[in-house]
């Protein structure tokens, strides 16, 4: 027995590989590299910024106080705002007001009734103010020339106001609104909804303020190019009486529908469209222009139905803390090439942003320091190689040498309707849970900036901004 055991042990020794410790260590020495590979494979994609979901969550469970809300002006924009409001919890609609009682007012009342709100419809806002004593907030979307009167009346009645842009069609009107806000201490939010858009906020707070990603901004360029549009019409059977039109400041049905184009009622495309984007110039730069020159005219449409300029190209000069910034802005209404966007250009990069998501992008200048830190923080998507266009036979294209700027996308998207976050911000502010994103003073500065463009065209001069004009 003993011997057998001994022998088998010997055999085992012979049959085994006879590995020393050193053999094992060296044999397995390279295995950790596989571990390293696995680790870096898992890490390589960084934070998932595939932009499918919003980084900033908008829907909030409602717990706070229910607010009594009224709406004034239920035209195209009034309906857009109402649709957004219906997605916001915690609102109780009490009243709506519109002078087009048979059409726009009726439609709004019906819609709200369908959603379970017990609303009263009014033609005259003064009647609404008299009867509705427990309003917390009103949303105003009447034509621009009505904004001042409507806003001031509600503020003085102790109601918080969300007023559509343009704050007013005159600087004096806008100024009187700021005065009323200060006097009453009620909230006044102006409807520049980009200021509450999570993508714009991300660009302003993270990319510009924290990361200072563009370096020294020197130039801005923006546009809203819109194709030819016919004048707005109206169904004959809903025509307003001449008496009623005149009572509310319109001379004709055409004016009532196309008020934007008339002096004294609206401000034309630069005010209607430009104000959204020039507001972003001021906001992103934390500044206001010192001068503007502009070229414009009624070049295409009928002059008697289009009093305001159908095309304008404006040049602003800003003096910011970092230096001079020159900004161009154009709005035309005869061609829609490239739509609308705002583009900020600095010595280290370019930020192109638009309310329509697919137009946004951030581009690093080749000479700028790397942006990997911001990619890793999730502020920017991973860079994409810009496809170099195929060169013809005989040319060898070399992306390393002729690199165009790396292109990033902004990994924050707004999946709600454009105006919803801005309205939400207004209601949050009423409940004391937020600060207004576009309070009266900011709306006023933008109103001055934009209204002066029309003045520059009208007078054919470079208009200098008097700093006192901005101060109230």
């Amino acid at each position: 027995m003993e011997n057998e055991k001994q022998e088998s042990k010997e055999e085992e020794k012979k049959g085994s590989l006879n590995l020393s410790r050193r053999d094992i260590v060296q044999g397995l020495a390279t295995v950790p590299f596989l571990g390293m590979f696995g680790w870096s494979w898992a890490k390589k994609d960084g934070p998932d910024t595939s932009a499918s979901g919003p980084v900033i969550e908008t829907p909030k469970e409602f717990t706070g106080k229910e607010l009594n809300v009224a709406m004034l002006g239920m035209g195209a924009q009034g309906q857009v705002l109402l649709n957004s409001c219906l997605r916001i919890p915690g609102l109780k609609f009490k009243a709506v007001c519109d002078i087009w009682t048979d059409l726009n007012l009726k439609r709004a009342v019906n819609l709200l009734t369908k959603y379970g709100h017990e609303v009263t419809g009014y033609e005259d806002y003064r009647e609404m103010l008299e009867n509705e004593k427990d309003l917390d907030a009103v949303i105003i979307a009447t034509p621009d020339f009505w904004h001042a009167e409507h806003t001031i009346a509600f503020l003085e009645a102790g109601v918080h106001v969300y007023c559509e842009k343009e704050m007013s069609n005159t600087i004096e009107g806008a100024r009187s609104m700021v005065d009323a806000q200060k006097r009453t201490g009620k909230l006044l939010q102006i409807g520049h909804q980009r200021r509450s858009n999570p993508r714009y906020i991300h660009c302003k707070k993270k990319l510009l303020e924290e990361a200072d990603i563009l370096g020294r901004i020197t130039t801005i360029n923006g546009q809203w190019n819109r194709g030819v549009q016919p004048d707005l019409g109206w169904p004959k059977r809903y025509e307003l009486s001449q008496e009623k039109l005149e009572k509310y400041g319109f001379e004709t049905m055409h004016e009532f529908r196309n008020w934007r184009w008339y002096k004294g009622l609206g401000g034309g495309p630069i005010v209607d469209l430009g104000s959204h984007q020039i507001d972003i110039y001021n906001w992103f730069l934390d500044s206001k222009p010192v001068s503007v020159m502009a070229s414009g005219g009624v070049d295409y449409y009928e002059k008697d139905t289009h009093e305001w300029y159908d095309s304008i190209i404006a040049l602003f000069e800003y003096q910011t803390e970092k230096g001079t910034v020159r900004a161009s802005y154009q709005t035309i209404t005869t061609n829609s090439s490239e739509g609308y966007f705002e583009k900020f250009m600095g010595d280290q990069g370019t930020l192109s942003i638009s309310e329509s998501a697919n137009k946004s992008g951030v581009y690093r200048e080749v000479s700028a320091p790397p942006w990997d830190e911001w990619v890793n923080k999730g502020y920017l998507s991973k860079p994409e190689k810009k496809e170099t266009p195929a060169a013809g036979e005989g040319a060898v294209v070399d992306v390393r040498e002729t690199a165009s700027p790396e292109s990033h996308t902004i990994p924050v998207e707004l999946n709600d309707p454009y105006h919803q976050p801005h309205l939400q911000n207004f209601f949050d502010a009423i409940r004391g849970e937020a600060e207004l994103n576009c309070p009266a003073e900011d709306g006023y500065e933008t109103a001055v900036t934009v209204l002066k463009v029309n003045e520059a065209v009208e007078k054919g001069i470079t208009v200098k901004f008097n700093p006192e004009e901005y101060v109230i």
Partner: protein, 165 residues
Amino acid sequence: MSFDKNEQTIGSGGIIALTLLRILIGWHFLYEGFYKLAQESWTAKPVLNGSKWIMNGVYSWIADSPSMLSFVDSLNMYGMVILGFGLILGVFTRWLALGGAVLLLLFYLINPPLPGLYYTTPTEGHYLIVNKNLIEMMALVALVFIPTGKFFGLDRFLYAFLKKS
């Protein structure tokens, strides 16, 4: 030619350096393979179609034949993953180095940077006849002759086994 003599001539520093070279090349293969596998619709077709010089005919034929193409595609992806694992772990090192070298030669022949050939697909860097594929191929050829797996790698167990029998 005995291994000990090799060790004497290239020294232990040389062995370690060459082992690292083997690992780096293995890593490169592994990542290329995994990357292609992770892309659901990766195929060599466009690359093969852009082929020039002597292999043009064969490569275009592969690209145009769906069954050949899918065979070549999988061979590529899984081949590179296997090469990657093998070279890092140092198993069958010399055979894999040879296989890798052949594969790289085939890659090289797709679009060799020869004078007189022009490519419209952008490449990084500038090459004349010699490019990175060729260099990596030659590095693998060197590893065919220097059995680094015997020193660092699972091949060490294999050699121990062979020695025993």
